[in-house]
Structures are given as C-alpha cells and as structure tokens.
C-alpha cells in the first residue's frame, strides 16, 4: 500500500518562473489496485510520479510505501519498493548492454550488488520464460545489444524488467505515449496482462481519457497539483469520456480546454 499525504512542491521558488507543481496532493493506493491517472498538461502528473519514485523530493507532505516513510529517501534507496517504466522507450534500458545484462541489472533491483558474476546461469530459465511471453522472439536473442531492438520491443522489455522482482508499486509514466498506435496497444495489453497475472499494485499516468477508463480499477484526475476526482467500482463502470468531462466541469466549474485530452 502506498499513501501520499498533502504533498506540496514548488519549482523555482522565489524566482519569476515560480511554478507550484503539487498543491496539497493526497492519494492512497491499496494493495492490488490498478489506478489510472489523467490530467491536462501541467496538472502535476509527472511531478507526482517523480515524487513517488524519489527523482524529486517534495517540499512538504509525507509519502509512505509499505509502512516505510520514504519522503526524504533518494531514488536508489526506494527502488526496492518502487518499480518504474518511463515514457521514453530508450530511458528504461541501457542500449550498450545486452538484453541479458539489462535483465540481470533489473533482477537485483533494490538489493545489494556484490562481486559475483552479474549474468548468472540460474537466471536464464526465468529470462527465457518471461521473454517468450512477449512473443517477440527475444528469448533467442539474450546476448544481443539492447540498442538493436525497436522502441516498442525496448518498452516491452522495460516492462518485464520492472516486474522481474516484487515491488510495492509499479509506476507507469505515459509509457505508451511515445509509441505508434499499434505498438502502444501491444504494450498496453502486455501491461494489463502482467499486472493481472502478478497481482501488482500499479499507478499509470496516461494522456488519454479513453485509455484511463478502459484499463485499471480506479481513475484519478489531477488538476493544478491536486486530485479533482477519484472514481472506482460501480461509479466507474460504463463511464465514457464525455461523462468524465462533465464530472470535471461540475466538480471544478471549469471546462477542459486541452484538446489532446479530448482527441486521444
């Protein structure tokens, strides 16, 4: 379980470019929940994810992951509890390392690394098995450099890497946005499959309202660094994009003017 309470963060404090990204954001995600997060540009989605991952440290508020207060911990010290897939397909893997080396890095996420050989023979069975579930033929290319793979393949491997070892939460940061529609759909389907099979707790940021309603068990909308609405269960069933927009307008007395939210 993760809970974020009253997170506040302002970029460029005291400068003309002062930008309050989080303004009292609170969200609790229970074990096994798959939450989709939407919001227009500048709503604080990415900042919120970065705050959970430790890439930015919040000015105030607390973040608790599985009963451990991680608010002030740097990224690498909470990596054992927080797994992550980035928006940029090239960001989640090392192109200069082979597929098996990348996977071997990921299998030790958050654990001590010693001087024993990194790519161990006993991992191979697991690597082959999980790679073959992708149906991309990568199980026979373990020694290939990551840089030889396409963006979609690399994002699929990133997803595998994030789920190789257990974590308290899996953060997905618009991880299909940079892919073409067909590959994006493949990676999204893979995401829901992995999350269901391994019963993961996940938080997925997306730019598409449609996607936000199609997958997951709960949807949260952010606006100006706060949660505007949070729907799950019966209220969420059968909801469509236009219902979401209405909900947003009645809650805030605002209209959504970000075309990309409506069109995608």
């Amino acid at each position: 379980m993760i809970s974020a309470t009253d997170l506040r963060l302002t970029f460029g404090k005291g400068t003309p470019l002062e930008n309050p990204a989080l303004r009292g954001m609170s969200l609790t995600v229970n074990q096994g929940e798959f939450v989709t997060v939407i919001g227009s540009n500048g709503a604080g989605k990415s900042t919120f994810l970065n705050a959970l991952a430790g890439e930015v440290i919040v000015d105030s508020g607390t973040i608790v992951v599985d009963n451990l207060n991680v608010t002030k911990l740097p990224t690498h010290k909470r990596a054992g509890r927080v797994a992550r897939v980035f928006q940029d397909p090239l960001a989640g893997t090392c192109e200069g390392l082979s597929i098996e080396e990348n996977l071997s890095l990921a299998i030790k996420r958050g654990q001590r690394r010693g001087l024993s050989t990194a790519v161990k023979r006993q991992y191979m069975e697991q690597f082959r098995e999980s790679l073959s579930s992708l149906n991309l033929g990568l199980e026979n290319r373990l020694g290939d450099k990551m840089g030889l793979l396409s963006g979609g393949q690399r994002q699929a491997v990133s997803l595998l890497m994030a789920s190789l070892t257990p974590s308290a939460i899996l953060l997905l940061d618009e991880h299909t946005a940079a892919l073409d529609p067909k590959t994006g759909a493949f990676v999204l389907a893979l995401t829901t499959k992995i999350i269901e099979e391994q019963k993961l707790t996940a938080l997925m940021v997306t730019h598409s309202m449609k996607q936000a309603l199609e997958v997951g068990s709960r949807t949260v909308m952010l606006h100006q660094g706060q949660v505007v609405f949070d729907i799950a269960g019966k209220d969420r069933e059968g909801l469509e994009v236009k219902d979401l927009l209405e909900l947003f307008e009645t809650q805030r007395g605002l209209s959504v003017d970000d075309d990309s939210l409506l069109l995608s």
């Binding site: 991952a53 430790g54 890439e55 740097p74 990224t75 690498h76 010290k77 990596a79 054992g80 797994a83 992550r84 980035f86 960001a91 989640g92 893997t93 090392c94 192109e95 200069g96 390392l97 080396e101 071997s104 890095l105 990921a106 030790k108 996420r109 958050g110 654990q111 690394r113 010693g114 001087l115 024993s116 050989t117 990194a118 790519v119 890497m161």
Partner: protein, 300 residues
C-alpha cells in the same frame, strides 16, 4: 629501422601506458566522466613509490601505496563532482592542479633518482634474459593480471551497475544503484591504475619527476582511441585488449616517427606528434565511414 633496444623500449612504455588506457576506458567510456586527474595522479604514483623506495621500503609495497594514493586522488575528484556538484571536467582539473603542489610536497624536491635502488625490476634481472627484455616480461605479467581483474570486475554485479551508471544514470537509479557511489568507486579505481602506471614508469626509467604527468591524459586517450580503431570494442574484453594494443601501437608509432631520419623529427617534437596522432585517430574512422556511405549511396 628500430633497433632491438628501441623496439623493446617502445613496448615497455606501451605496456605501462596500457594501464593508463585502462584508466581512461573506465572514466571516459564506462562512466562517461572526462577525468583529467590522471595528469596529476601519474606523477603522484611515481612520487609516492620513489620516496618510499629511497626510504628503504619493499618496492612492491611502495608500488601498492602508489596505487592507494592514486585512488585517493581519484576519489577527491569524484567527490568534488558528486557531493559538491562541480562539473566533472572542472573537478578533475582542480584536483590535477592541487596534485602538482602535493607531488612537490611528497618528494620534497622536483625529482628523485632511483639509480642503484632496489625496484620491482631488480630481482628479474637475475633471469637469463637480455637486459632490455626484462621490463617487458614483468609488465606483460602486470598488465595481464590487471586486464583479467578488470574484466572480471566489469562482469560482476557491481561492475555492471557501474556500466549502467555511465550509460543511463536515470535508469540506474531506478534499479536501485547508488550512482554517486559508483562514480566515486570508478574514478578511484581508474586513478589507482594511473598511480600504478606512474610507479612502474618511475622504476623503469630510474627517476620520478613532477613534470612527468604532463600530457598523460592525451597519451591515454590516443591509446584508447587508436586501439578502438583497430579492435572494435563490442565487448568489455575486446575494449580492454584494444587499450593495450592501442598503447603499444602508439609508442611504436612514436618510436618509428622519431627514428625515421627522412622525417627529420627529434625528441622535442614528441608532443606535436602525439597531438597529430590523436587527431588522426579521432578523424580517420569518421572520414572512412563518410567515404563508405557516399559510395553505398551511389550504388543504391
């Protein structure tokens, strides 16, 4: 043509600079950390070893201390960068400048002669080998052991974490790798190797001198880039072998250039030749591929 002695001499210094090339490989290639500390840690290693040897220490123990001194210098550079957020290149220049004073302090004077002292080479001269081949034999052993240890390290969990740190720091952090600690460890190991090279160089040349570090970074880079042009560094092992091969080729090229009478080059032209060789090594592969691409485009 090269005389036998000049040939073995070139190989001998080439092997020592192979250690420097390993160091540059770790900092520039693995960590993506342009580290100029080597210009200071090379004479530091020489100074520490020379002072201790003159003081009557066991030469291997003295050489070990030179390695530790080099590692400390590297750690200072990395800490300036990681903890105090100083740009990596600038941090290394600061350490390099500071080391000039440190080296003078260590030695107490600008140079120390090791003539007549017991060095790591002394016991090897009792072997039934020509005088000029002895250092080559010892340094081949040293560089072979260093190569195997480095290769094993780069293949280890920690070594892989270090490679990820240089290649993709954001991903490395997300995998729970303390990237700052990896940079400190890597730059320290790198300069430890340079300290070793400095210590061996002083013992093979018979003296330590504060100015002996000038341009070591360029020689190391020349060896690394030259080696990579000959052996594609597609694996860690190939990259490390390329370092050694590059360093030896570089020294041989210098020796040939200085020995070719028709060129009229003399010892004082050494740095000019070095700069030209490095430029060629950097530019030539690019020219080759652009020529090839023109050719293939026409064909298509």
């Amino acid at each position: 043509m090269l005389s036998d002695i000049a040939l073995y001499g070139a190989i001998e210094t080439g092997l020592i600079y192979g250690l420097v090339a390993f160091a540059i490989y770790i900092s520039f290639r693995v960590l993506d950390f342009p580290d100029l500390t080597v210009d200071g840690s090379f004479p530091l290693g020489a100074a520490v070893a020379a002072v201790l040897i003159v003081d009557g220490w066991d030469p291997w123990l003295a050489t070990g201390c030179a390695v530790l001194a080099g590692m400390a210098a590297g750690a200072v550079t990395a800490i300036l960068n990681v903890k105090l957020k100083i740009l990596n290149l600038l941090a290394s220049i600061l350490t390099m400048i500071a080391l000039y004073s440190v080296n003078l302090r260590v030695m107490g004077r600008p140079n120390i002669a090791l003539l007549g002292e017991d060095t790591v080479l002394t016991p090897w001269y009792s072997l039934d080998l020509p005088y000029h081949q002895v250092p080559v034999l010892l340094f081949v052993i040293v560089i072979f052991i260093s190569l195997i240890l480095l290769w094993r390290f780069m293949k280890s969990e920690t070594g892989l974490a270090m490679r990820a740190t240089g290649a993709n720091p954001r991903m490395a952090r997300a995998q729970g790798i303390a990237t700052g600690a990896m940079i400190i460890l890597g730059v320290a190991v790198s300069n430890g190797l340079v300290g070793l090279a400095g210590a061996l160089f002083a013992q093979s040349q018979g003296a330590a001198d504060v100015t002996m570090g000038v341009g070591v970074i360029v020689i190391g880079l020349a060896s690394l880039i030259g080696g990579e042009a000959v052996i594609t560094p597609s694996t860690v092992m190939r990259a490390l072998i390329a370092c050694v091969v590059g360093a030896i080729i570089y020294r041989l090229a210098i020796a040939f250039a200085l020995n070719a009478d028709f060129l009229g080059l003399q010892a004082q032209d050494l740095n000019l030749i070095t700069a030209v060789l490095v430029t060629l090594a950097i530019v030539l592969p690019g020219i080759r591929s652009s020529v090839v691409s023109k050719f293939t485009r026409r064909k298509a």
